[in-house]
């Protein structure tokens, strides 16, 4: 590690542009800015050397600068070879934070970038991990096990990484206490419900410019993602039909006034189809064959398994690419089907993914998880933990001022009546929001 580069980004001259864009992102990330306001003086992360591996975007830039404002030393790599926003990376590198990330890394370069973040400039190794997807966690556990005993904790951002942590934990290979940020209410609700509620329509509109009002929209699945999608489509004036396998969710949908039926039925009626289930084979060949002319089909659920795109490619008479991420198939019966993002996530393929405000919620969870693991590490034995409910509430609280929300305080009498501390936590762990 003798000649470690101070940073490696695609183009450092993009820093000025990146800085302007970060300024705008800051305004939309009130939770992180609140953390700076609350902790910039006390610097609870002083002494922490955080290696971060998470999409190097503008929103992440705001996270990084929040961590450094709280006293941490930070080094960064991206958790995806294509997700880095080069101007964001340049702006962060310019401030002297070692960042190793560019859009379009090879798999080998990706690992190189992560490895650059393990040792800090004075040769001291990392002592905290902030991960998204588990690659940094795995790298340290397999290739640098000697560093594990110096690491106080891991905070993990996403489902894939959390699965990996639980798997390691059950096999006994996990050597560092970890906090599952993914399943905080303030993370998953924003990702699934409020995030998709905005980005679904954004994706459909950018791809097709279709008028949603007056159309029949079919939403497969009525979980958090489905609820958000159905609500957004309804708000635009579409008549929404839901398909469900779970009687509870089906009843919820019916109570909201949606028609609930099977895909076999709905496929004959819909103009717009959205899958949100997380399961495979939701819309198959027989459904495509029954659809109306120029039906729009997209997925916002799980990767690319929900739609049988393979069947379409094999059985359509013709496939014409309209523009990137938009394909129009001519069926043998003469009807057309417009497929968005090749069946992959439409809000990522055809729109810009999550807005900064959504990321502010999950990243504020990350900041609190880092503070918690760094300052209260005795509270967290080896294993995978949730962020305490109280901190989940603190994440939400950090976003209220910016939105002009006035929160009501419990009186001592009321608190006593409910049997709660008047400052929370307000709900039992099993409460479903």
């Amino acid at each position: 590690m003798s000649e470690k580069l101070p940073y490696k980004v695609a183009d450092i001259s993009l820093a000025e542009w990146g800085r302007k864009a970060i300024k705008i992102a800051e305004n939309e990330m009130p939770g992180l800015m609140k953390m700076r306001e609350m902790y910039a003086r006390s610097k609870p992360l002083k002494g922490a050397r955080i290696a971060g591996c998470l999409h190097m975007t503008l929103q992440t830039a705001v996270l990084i600068e929040t961590l450094t404002a709280l006293g941490a030393e930070v080094q960064w790599s991206s958790c995806n070879i294509f997700s880095t926003q080069d101007h964001a990376a340049a702006a962060i590198a310019k401030t002297g934070v070692p960042v190793y990330a560019w859009k379009g890394e090879t798999d080998e370069e990706y690992v190189w970038c992560i490895e650059q973040t393990l040792f800090f400039k004075d040769g001291k190794p990392l002592n905290m991990i902030l991960d998204d997807g588990g690659d940094l966690t795995n790298l340290v556990h397999t290739k640098y096990p000697e560093l594990l005993q110096g690491i106080r904790g891991i905070s993990e951002e996403t489902t894939t990484g959390v699965h990996n942590l639980y798997k390691m934990n059950s096999k006994g290979t996990l050597k560092v206490p970890a906090i599952n940020v993914n399943d905080s209410v303030t993370k998953s609700k924003f990702d699934n419900l409020y995030g998709c509620r905005e980005s679904l329509i954004d994706g459909i509109k950018r791809a097709t410019d279709v008028m949603i009002a007056g159309k029949v929209a079919v939403v497969a699945g009525y979980g958090d993602v489905g609820k958000g999608c159905a609500q957004a489509l309804k708000a635009f004036g579409a008549r929404v039909i839901i398909t469900e396998i779970d009687p509870i969710n089906a009843l919820q949908a019916a109570m909201e006034g949606y028609e609930v039926t099977t895909m076999d039925e709905a496929s004959k009626e819909g103009n717009i189809f959205v899958t949100t289930t997380g399961c495979e084979d939701i819309i198959t060949g027989s459904h495509f064959e029954q659809m109306k002319d120029d039906a729009i089909v997209c997925n916002i659920g799980h990767f690319d398994v929900e739609l049988d795109v393979k069947w379409l490619n094999a059985n359509a008479a013709e496939k014409v690419n309209i523009k990137p991420q938009v394909d129009r198939y001519t069926m043998k019966n003469g009807n057309h089907i417009i497929l968005l993002a090749e069946g992959r996530l439409v809000n990522l393929g055809c729109a810009m993914g999550h807005p900064s405000f959504v990321m502010s919620n999950s990243f504020t969870n990350q900041v609190l998880a880092q503070i918690e693991l760094w300052t209260n590490h005795t509270k967290y034995p080896l294993g995978v933990h949730f962020l305490p409910k109280k901190l989940d509430e603190a994440v939400a609280a950090a976003h209220l001022d910016k939105l002009g929300v006035k929160l009501t305080k419990l009186t001592d009498k009321q608190a006593k009546y409910l049997g709660l501390d008047k400052d929370g936590p307000f709900k039992p762990d099993h409460y479903r929001y």
């Binding site: 070879i81 379009g104 890394e105």
Partner: protein, 184 residues
Amino acid sequence: MSNSEPEHLTTVALVESSENPIGLQLVDTQHTCRVGDPSDLVALAQQVQKANEFIRANASNRLTVIAEQIRLLQEQARKVLEDAKQDADLHHVACNVVKKPGTIYHLYVRESGQRYFSILSPKEWGPSCPHQFLGSYKLQHDMSWTPYDSVEKRDQEISIIDKVLSQQIALPSSREPNFQGLVN
């Protein structure tokens, strides 16, 4: 003059004679036009011969220059085609990043034989460099590639041309040919 005459034989063509030049009937054309001294004809023939040789030499000299130029042009054309082929080849090498002119890229080959461009140099990789390094190239603003060892030379050339371009306004405005810059 007969066409079958071999080329190397020089024949002398004399001006046609007339029996009635400008309306005056000559008494005896044989008398008037007879070549007296046979060496006169030889002298004429020799002169024509010499002229022939000179012209041939002249033409040959000038043709040689042209031939030389053709050869040079052909050489240049070949180089242009070769460069174009190499540039095109390098542009089609696998690369995950959007390439930006003015940047140096490093060419590696994977075990599979696939070549790819990276923004990491072998030095930056350090000992863990996973693939064989083939060379570094700078992407110029005209989308051509300059091998790393010629980058400095090429940069100098470009800066000279830049200078000429920026100073063009100072060139003398003259309609007549001049040798300014060639002499002194």
